[in-house]
Amino acid sequence: MKQVQGPMSEAQSKVRSPVSGVRSLSIRLRTPKFGLRTPDSGHRTFLVLIVASGLLSLYPLQRSIEKQLASTQSQREELIFLPSETRLARLSGGYSGLLAAIYWTRAVQYYGRHRLAHAKEFALLGNLLDLTTGLDPHLLIAYRFGSLFLAGKPPEGAGDPKRAIHLLERGIVANPEYWRLWEDLGFIYYWDMKDYAHAARAFQTGSERPGALPWMRVLAASVASQGGEFQTSRLLWTEIARSAGNDSIRHSAEIHLTALDTQEALRKLDGLLAFYKQKEGHDARSLQDLVAAGYLRGIPLDPSGEPFMVAPDGRAALGPKSRIDLGLVQ
């Protein structure tokens, strides 16, 4: 029996059916040909219905969501935030909070560098803070510390209390119920602007916000009547020192308190010197005279441990080695 040898081809026959190269289906969005469907077309109608009804229901649902979302965001920000800032916030989408934190860090680093270098000006600080708060209007710490950095005199800060006030006002628009921003506002008006009327008003409004501590009201009252008085200022700084959440703030407050106390001590000494002149008929040449005359028990020391002295102009002054910085309170 003859054996038949068929064509022994091991060649892989790629049947070049046009559709097996499915890539041809890809880029052009042609309407798919409806193949021969059997009684399954029932479920296809069902699917088409789902698509149609689903797309239609999106509208009312979206409106509802918009309402809900609005309640979680404060809308009045548009009043005071620059379009460029809100645009940046929107561009960063759900990650704006992260960007804000990054910008805040940059602001802090900027401030720290300049402070360490005893810089005379902090040109970019205001912009960085505006960007930060534009990205996250609820970043309270940026308003609080930011305003401190802006208001303080160089090298402690940018020496720009007006800008600090503007920053705080933005913060208040975005966070109207947070009383500490009013506290900060009042402080800047009081200390850097010496505008006691505005300061009192700020403290008063702040005292009415939820959670405000009772001393706010006290402060409002004292500032109104005795703005610039020693006791009022002391009260303010004491409260700041007590509630500072940060060591550097507390330290700053303590230094200010010390300076205040020193200034008060100098004032008292001036009073004693005047009394001495009145009584003895001539100026005291040094504090030793006062001690000798019995007005003082001993040469008083300033909080830095150095003795006070009498300046050539006849007034009490700090000793040459004193470490107190009276510039803080003038």
Partner: protein
């Protein structure tokens, strides 16, 4: 139904084998680094940064996985020709799509869950303990998952139509547009052309509004998320996913191989 589960578990196993979950390692390093380093570079915002960073990373990593694997699910099968084998089994095309979707969703849920645990660990380390209200952050995670579920649906829909690369590009574009849909609509309104305004409004309502789900900043500041929003967003996501998957099935059933 059993077939859908089989396909879903198969897709999940494939993701694991494809070493997708290794992204978790990077995430872990990120969290640890943040927890340790943040305090020394900034003032007062350590927790804020950690929360924003953690939730942001969960969102971004999840998105990348969703797009990459989502495309691979159908496009890769077509490219590698493995689809011939599975479609010739007693599996309907709808079951295939649903199964793949479920599998990918499972991968995302597992991935997100692990990241969330890591995130809370970092938070606990930084805050030296966790309070009950810290768990309100989970709402943000849930919303992120809803977003990812929609993105995967989009990815699967496109991969039924197009090549892997184009599908990835389209999906990513829709995600970006969906995040800025508000601006698109505002642009149309400000443009002064009623036609443009109508077009952009239509786009706004038709395209998925991913901005609805962005509450990372709010929860970071402790703002309460209204329960109604949670319900509404869940419904929106479910609805949109139903639309996407139905569309995918309709298209896929017509495709020849």
């Amino acid at each position: 139904m059993g077939r859908i589960i089989t396909i879903a578990l198969g897709a999940f196993k494939e993701s694991v084998r494809e070493r997708v979950l290794y992204n978790l390692v990077i995430f872990a390093f990120l969290m640890i680094g943040a927890a340790i380093l943040l305090g020394s570079i900034s003032v007062g915002v350590e927790q804020l940064i950690l929360v924003n960073l953690g939730l942001g990373a969960i969102s971004v990593f999840g998105l990348m996985i969703a797009i990459v694997i989502g495309i691979g699910l159908v496009s890769k099968e077509i490219d590698h020709r493995t689809i011939y084998n599975i479609l010739s089994k007693p599996v309907t095309r709808a079951e295939f799509i649903l199964g793949k979707y479920a599998g990918l969703l499972l991968t995302l849920v597992v991935n997100t869950a692990i990241m969330t645990v890591g995130f809370y660990l970092a938070l606990a380390i930084q805050k030296k303990g966790l309070a009950l209200h810290d768990f309100s952050l989970l709402i943000a995670v849930y919303f992120i998952l809803l977003q990812l579920a929609i993105v995967v649906g989009i990815a699967i829909l496109f991969s039924c139509i197009s090549t892997p690369i184009l599908s990835a590009v389209f999906t990513f574009c829709i995600f970006v547009i969906g995040n800025f849909s508000n601006d698109v609509r505002a642009f149309g309104q400000e443009s002064g052309s009623p036609f443009l305004a109508k077009m952009t409004a239509a786009l706004y309502y038709l395209l998925p509004n991913f901005g609805d789900f962005n509450v990372i900043n709010q929860v970071a500041h402790g703002v309460m998320i209204p329960r109604l929003l949670i319900t509404a967003n869940t419904c929106y996501a479910l609805l949109y996913i139903a639309v996407l998957l139905s569309g995918a099935v309709l298209i896929f059933e017509e495709r020849e191989f």
